[in-house]
Amino acid sequence: MKAKHQRLILAAVALCGVAGAGVLAASALRDEAAYFRTPAEVVAGKTTVGEPMRLGGMVAAGSIKRQADGLTIDFVATDGKASIPVQFKGIVPDLFAENSGMVADGRMRADGVFVADRILAKHDERYMPPQMGDMPKNMKVAPKV
């Protein structure tokens, strides 16, 4: 009985130690493990012009503008606190749309525009059935770009 209790206490103490170390490590990683920077972080000066980085945010409503070459798009990435104009030349994922999340690889230009060389679409945690009343029957549900 005694040895069993000793082992239990030892295991519990060791587990607490390991869990504590895990929490400390995770909180130390907090900034480093982030997949992207938000517009507010960029505006706060946490990034360097010309340095490769990843910018994530919502595509502001009504901000997507296509240029005459048909490939280049301009839009505004926002996190509600700050906004960054983004320019990208290439093909965007189907889910890329206004009022929806996106993540862009690229770098800041000196004039404050983020030049992206790759864009990924983010999906939020909501899953909804299509609103059948709003669209003709048998129409494929495609996001608006």
Binding site: K4, A11, A26, P130
Partner: protein
């Protein structure tokens, strides 16, 4: 609980239970897959691609749940020395790794058409990949124990090193769970929380079917593997006895 820690008593229950878990589990998985593919509408933004969630989500939960139960079995083995708990931990490792791999594969297949990439090193994906490697390490460790210089470990159970490894690896489970909350990530936040579900009810119900189904299949695989490990041990013990008899 102590009553079932005896391998003979365990076998008397596990043997008839296995085909039931397997059969009912298959039924639920097939029913859930049918419902998920044909009876519910495609998701509003993603269209048909979102249907893969009926496999992806149960795989993720079982991969994480597998390690959680493996760690609990490791703790019981360390503290109470129940021979069956070590056998259970060894049995859980293989289906746990299988479902973790299935989660990563379906996630990758899903990521390409929605996000635009097969793989990114964000917090959720990286920590889930770490879980896959943890399973591989545990399986290698326990196989080494079973086949190593000491021969079959007593009762097919865990070495102390493997049990400690199981406990330490459990640190990764809350990290996977919180990775999308603590850090900016490409993967979206949790859809199903204690507060409710942000998956609409019309799309949610087949997930219940596949979740129950895959869990039952997981249980069936664990029972089959536990029975196999126990049988292997008995064969090994009998061979040892025979070898001893010939020696006389």
């Amino acid at each position: 609980m102590h009553a079932y820690a005896n391998p003979t008593r365990f076998l008397a229950i596990a043997k008839p239970l296995t085909p039931w878990l397997l059969g009912v589990g298959l039924l639920f998985v097939l029913g859930g897959a049918f419902a998920g593919l044909t009876m519910v509408p495609g998701e509003a933004k993603q269209g048909e691609t979102a249907r893969i969630l009926y496999v992806h989500v149960p795989s993720a939960w079982l991969g994480m749940g597998g390690w959680t139960s493996l760690a609990v079995a490791g703790l019981v083995q360390l503290v109470w020395r129940h021979p069956l708990s070590g056998i259970a931990a060894r049995a859980i490792a293989v289906p746990g790794m299988l479902f973790t791999a299935l989660c990563l594969a379906t996630g990758s297949i899903w990521g390409k058409p929605t996000w635009g990439t097969w793989w990114e090193w964000d917090g959720r994906m990286t920590s889930m990949l770490v879980l896959l490697f943890l399973y591989a390490g545990f399986i290698a460790l326990t196989n080494g124990d079973a086949n190593g210089a000491g021969g079959q470990r007593q009762g097919g159970s865990l070495s102390r090193g493997a049990a400690v490894y199981a406990l330490v690896g459990a640190v990764n489970i809350p990290i996977i769970n919180r990775s999308v909350v603590w850090w900016n990530s490409l993967h979206q936040g949790p859809s199903i929380t204690l507060g409710g579900s942000s998956i609409d009810r019309t799309l949610l119900w087949p997930l219940g079917l596949t979740l129950v189904g895959f869990s039952l299949l997981f249980g069936a695989i664990v029972l089959m593997r536990m029975r196999r490990i126990i049988a292997d041990n008995r064969v090994a013990a009998r061979l040892r006895r025979l070898a001893d008899d010939e020696g006389h």
